[in-house]
Amino acid sequence: MKIKILEDRCKGCGLCIEFCPKKILALSDKRNLLGYKIVCWKSPENCNHCGICYLMCPEVVFVEDGEIER
């Protein structure tokens, strides 16, 4: 399963970064169309798909690849 970060939805609140048990997420310097700094992978190979980022993300940024066809 590949997890996709929907960059348009992210508001850079940092809840996923705080609660990620493996600490593999970080804020990037890139900004999205809303002007927020977006979350990015620091080391995606360590992800064990626990789903805590999905549970805590207020904006439903983390979805399975192919879940949203925009």
Binding site: K11, E18, L55, M56, P58, E59, V60, E64, E67
Partner: protein
């Protein structure tokens, strides 16, 4: 094990308008997951209140009606009595449920109307600019209490879950929070139970969810989420009334 990384079917794909770190959208997602799991999408009717959640119809793909400020429980009563097969829920804030709508809410609860009321308690009036609400905690600074809430002048916070648990018409009454992953999972279970109470016609079901308001608390998203732990000392979490009994399956 909850299903993760899958967008709930009844959640529309619009981008939320809430501020970064607001817990409204976590509750929206949980609500959609529960509606999907109980297969209520065709017959659920939501009552959006006045407040930040008044645009509920942009995000949840069920029928949503906008009630006047505080009157959600009364409008829901009318709907449920006219069409008992519908599943009616209200989605209100603390200013809506506990301030201007206190009479409507308490009487709907004491009549034991078979509706589900969700109250998002973030201890301020979020949309109108952070004024004092009935649930504002002592010493909290708001725009109308710049020196902090003084019990001699503004009184004590109103604890709605404890109040409603004494009512005979209330079937299910609980308070929960969504500031840690564990509490998010628990909230989903309680949300499901609140809807099951209505589906079994047990009476009024009430769920209070402690939320954040980072902008009006003048904090960033992370410290606001951690600040909810301090609110829990004042508003204890738990199930205050449960007519299902202790061993019911969720």
């Amino acid at each position: 094990m909850p299903e993760v990384f899958k967008l709930p079917k009844s959640l529309k794909k619009n981008i939320f308008h809430y501020c970064p770190g607001c817990h409204h959208s976590i509750v929206h997602r949980l609500l959609c997951e529960v509606i999907d799991e109980l297969n209520l999408r065709d017959r659920a009717v939501g009552l959006a209140s006045i407040g930040c959640a008044c645009f509920l119809y942009f995000y949840i793909d069920v029928d949503i009606v906008e009630a006047p400020h505080g009157r959600s429980c009364s409008v829901a009563t009318g709907m449920k009595r006219a069409r008992p097969e519908l599943v009616v829920f209200t989605y209100q804030g603390d200013g809506d449920f506990a301030a201007i709508g206190l009479g409507d809410s308490l009487h709907a609860a004491s009549r034991g109307e078979s509706i589900t009321a969700l109250m998002i308690n973030n201890t301020v009036y979020g949309m109108t600019g952070g004024q004092l609400s009935p649930t504002t905690v002592l010493q909290q600074k708001t725009t109308t209490t710049p020196l902090g809430r003084d019990p001699k002048r503004e009184g004590f916070p109103l604890k709605m879950a404890e109040v409603l648990s004494n009512f005979e018409g209330v079937a299910f009454c609980a308070r929960t929070a969504v500031n840690t992953p564990k509490r998010v999972i628990e909230t989903k279970k309680l949300l499901k139970k609140a809807f099951l109470a209505q589906l079994e016609n047990r009476g009024f079901s009430y769920l209070e969810i402690l939320s954040t308001c980072p902008v009006n608390w003048k904090m960033d998203a992370l410290s606001a989420t951690k600040h909810v732990d301090k609110l829990i000392e004042i508003f204890p979490l738990g199930v205050f009334k449960d007519t299902f009994g202790g061993n019911s399956e969720i």
